[in-house]
């Protein structure tokens, strides 16, 4: 296991390197931030000075290597909006986003596992069709629309939950549902099909031939196996999940990274954008590794291959 971990950590390196290129190019093509940084009345000379100060007059590859070098030291530049180093600003927002993403994941899991199992075991029943329909619906609703609807219903109409902001656990419910619904829909479909496949396996027939009660057959023998592929595919959803926080956080005025990113992009605060993209990418990669580890725990076959 330790070896595996080391190996995966080493594998991150080229990916992070490629990401650094992508990020750099994104920012590079964004054009110069200079005009946004200058006051209305600045002269051309002021402009030149600032450009030189930022090193924007140098060739692209030089700029890239300087960017890379700084980045390796954790320096993503200074946010001109906050006039502070970008990375701490991003990291400061991480806990909020984390909290939201994990809550959403829990919501998704709690919804999807029972539904997925039920619709697989009761295949083609009314319930199955209902669940399929609901999961398509879950995917078809854009976050912003769902979020506003939830606010209108639960907060404004029924007054059962707070509208927005971050605070106690009940502030978390609506945004977590908003963010988790799409994932839940995806997961339900996955669990269902994975479960259907597993239920057709020989060892399920073996389990039945031993006279085991159906509950054990489904929840012991089938579920564990069907979660194995789900885990990996879900890890791929981390990036969707974090992407979803951009909009969800804006709707619920949740002070996380998502909102920060949107505002940074809107104000062309590219240092923040760079740092944030990097942090997000790193998170996604780490969560993929975690999923891989979980995969190994769930499936003993892997360890020995």
């Amino acid at each position: 296991m330790r070896q595996y971990l080391l190996k995966s950590i080493l594998q991150i390196v080229p990916v992070l390197f490629l990401i650094s290129i992508i990020v750099f190019v994104l920012v590079y093509v964004t054009g110069d931030p200079v005009s946004l940084m200058l006051s209305d009345t600045a002269t051309d000379e002021d402009r030149e000075i600032l450009i030189a100060a930022l090193g924007l007059d140098q060739p692209m590859h030089i700029q890239y290597f300087r960017f890379l070098g700084n980045m390796l030291q954790g320096d993503f530049g200074t946010s001109f909006r906050y006039d502070m180093p970008a990375l701490p600003i991003v990291l400061e927002r991480l806990p909020a986003t984390f909290e939201l993403a994990i809550a959403a994941m829990i919501v998704a899991t709690v919804i999807s596992i029972p539904l997925g199992i039920l619709s697989a075991t009761k295949r083609n029943s009314f319930l199955d069709i209902f669940v399929s329909g609901a999961s398509v619906l879950g995917k078809a609703m854009p976050h912003f629309w769902l979020g506003i609807m939830l606010i209108l219903l639960f907060a404004v109409e029924w007054k059962t939950l707070p509208v927005s902001g971050r605070g106690s656990w009940d502030h978390l419910i609506l945004p977590a549902f908003t963010l988790g619904t799409g994932i839940a829909a995806e997961m339900t479909r996955l669990i269902r099909s994975s479960m259907l496949e597993i239920l057709g396996q020989d060892y399920i027939r073996t389990a039945r031939s031993k006279g085991l009660i159906e509950t054990i057959v489904v929840y012991k023998h089938a579920l564990r196996n069907s979660l194995i592929p789900v885990v990996t595919i879900m890890a791929l959803q981390t990036s969707t999940l974090i992407g979803g926080t951009l909009i969800t956080e804006t709707i619920f005025s949740w002070p996380g990274m998502g909102q920060l990113i949107i505002q940074a992009v809107n104000t062309r605060d590219m240092a923040i954008v760079q740092a944030a993209v990097f942090v997000v990418a790193f998170l996604v990669i780490v969560s993929n590794i975690l999923a891989d580890i979980l995969y190994r725990v769930l499936d003993p076959r892997i360890k020995y291959n």
Binding site: T41, A42, L50, I148, A155, P162, V163, G165, S253
Partner: protein
């Protein structure tokens, strides 16, 4: 309305353990505590509660003493101020003339600061004694008091900043105002607590929370559920709903902002032709825009110098021209009997209902045969093109006027400044403006500006559409009157 069962500390604005808490929601967080390096009205609306100016405007926009108790003009370029004694910053430092010198000279000399342009007129701040200063300007400055009672003029603690450094100040800002910072969670909330040491009237609230809620629907929902006491920037379509709701009401008030079209007079463009410009003006039914899109929340105008500003030409205010038939005729005369094409750039999501307004304008122009290609840009992109002066024939933008003086309204119309943007040039106007700028004879000055407004209304490098209202949603438990400058002096807000 019933309170949500949510966390008491974070959402419930009402008194808890006897504290009086006011919660205000706006669409965006404050930008920074560097009062010189932003030009954001809603940030200043918060700052005014923490920092004091030398002089401040009251609710009627009359200049009142604040940190300065008296002032006089020594000569055309020198103003003397007597400073209030016994005032303390939130950290306990005493307020002295050094602080004023530090503050004003910083913004007047550092050209990287966003407010530099509005203060570079100041040449020097001379400390006469610890409680007397003289401000010396490069040229005569008729509007100095206006300048000093607005964004960028809050007095900073020079000792604190020199000792602890600017970074520390940004983290723990300190002013002389009635409220001091308790906590700032970016993009979430900024909490102020009362400053018991405040020199003026005792602060009325124990705690004030400014929440940032970017999504309109969410902000309205917070107001309706009692999560906030005041919600800024209410979409017109929700006004009725807030009125109908038990426990909430709306307040609307005029602002300094005027929505306008900037037209290009660059040779070779269709809008070079004055008849075309006039046709565009006549084609747009401003009243309809105000009535339908803004739910009545605005006043059509033909000038940017709206009442409350020095130099208003009331002949042009609350007036509008709308005559599509004449517009068609003008087009025909201009040589476009079959209509013409142009590009209209506008923002999307920057101003209240900007997108809808532009869409409606596009439709109205189409009625008279002007086929406007609408290019809606999200603000940062718009701003980039704006600064690079890369727009085509027409762009739509709203300007405010924090100076409350006509001069600012013309700052983009001189031959020099309009180069590349509207490419408008009128020597007569140039002269009027140059004179007005340093004319210390107020009566004469007013005349100059009134005349300038007439020229613009006639030649139309800018077509003014309407003065915008600010829409607030307000809880019934408090008294609140909107200010023309949109500042939120929380001590002007009271519990019923």
């Amino acid at each position: 309305p019933a309170q949500p069962s949510g966390n008491k500390e974070t959402t419930q604005p009402a008194a808890q353990n006897g504290d009086k808490v006011l919660t205000i929601a706006s669409g965006s967080d404050i930008v920074t505590f560097d009062i010189h390096d932003h030009n954001n009205t809603s940030t200043e609306a918060v700052h005014v509660n923490m920092f004091d100016y030398l002089v401040r405007k009251d609710a009627q926009q009359k200049v009142q003493p604040d940190l300065a108790t008296e002032w006089e003009t020594v000569n055309d370029t020198t103003w003397r101020f007597k400073l209030r004694q016994g005032v303390k910053f939130h950290n306990g430092d005493e307020f002295t003339a050094e602080d004023v010198k530090f503050t004003l000279e910083r913004v007047a000399t550092d050209n990287k600061l966003l407010e530099y342009g509005n203060y570079k007129q100041i040449k020097e701040v001379k400390v006469i004694d610890p409680h007397t200063i003289e401000i010396i300007t490069h040229a005569p400055e008729p509007v100095l008091l206006n300048r000093l009672s607005r964004l960028g003029s809050g007095i900073l603690p020079s000792k604190y900043i020199k000792e602890k450094g600017w970074d520390e100040f940004l983290k723990n800002p300190v002013g002389t105002g009635p409220y001091k910072l308790e906590k700032w969670v970016r993009d979430d909330r900024l909490t102020l607590v009362k400053n018991d040491e405040y020199f003026g009237e005792k602060p009325k609230w124990d705690k004030v929370v400014f929440r940032s809620i970017p999504e309109d629907a969410t902000r309205v929902a917070e107001l309706l559920t009692g999560g906030v006491d005041i919600a800024v920037n209410i979409p017109p379509s929700d006004l009725q709903r807030i009125k109908d709701n038990d426990g909430t009401d709306t307040k609307q008030g005029p602002t300094q902002r005027v929505m306008q079209l900037t037209l290009r007079l660059t040779p070779g463009t269709v809008t070079e032709n004055p008849k075309v410009r006039e046709a565009i003006d006549l084609a747009i039914d401003k009243q309809a825009i105000v009535d339908n899109i803004l739910a009545g929340g605005g006043v059509p105008t033909r000038t940017r110098v709206t009442p409350g500003n020095f130099g208003t030409n009331l002949d042009l205010y609350n007036k509008t021209l709308y005559d599509p038939e004449k517009a068609k005729q003008l087009l025909a005369e201009a040589g476009y009997p079959n209509g013409l094409e142009l590009t209209l750039n506008a923002t999307s999501g920057r101003y209240l209902k900007d997108k809808e307004t532009a869409e409606l304008i596009q439709a109205m122009l189409a009625e008279v045969g002007i086929n406007a290609k609408l290019e809606l840009l999200e603000w940062s992109k718009f701003n980039e093109k704006y600064k690079a002066k890369k727009f085509d024939e027409v762009f739509m933008i709203a300007y405010g006027n924090s100076m409350f003086d006509a001069s600012l309204a013309f700052d983009r119309l001189t031959t020099e400044r309009s180069k590349g943007e509207s490419d408008y040039s009128n020597p007569e106007l140039d002269k009027l403006l140059a004179d007005g700028e340093k004319n210390m004879n107020m009566e004469e000055r007013e005349k100059q500006y009134k005349q300038a407004q007439e020229i613009i209304a006639e030649e139309r490098p800018h077509i003014y559409l309407y003065q915008m209202n600010a829409n607030y949603g307000v809880s019934d438990r408090i008294n609140f009157e909107p200010r023309l400058d949109e500042m939120l002096f929380v001590d002007e807000i009271t519990l019923k």
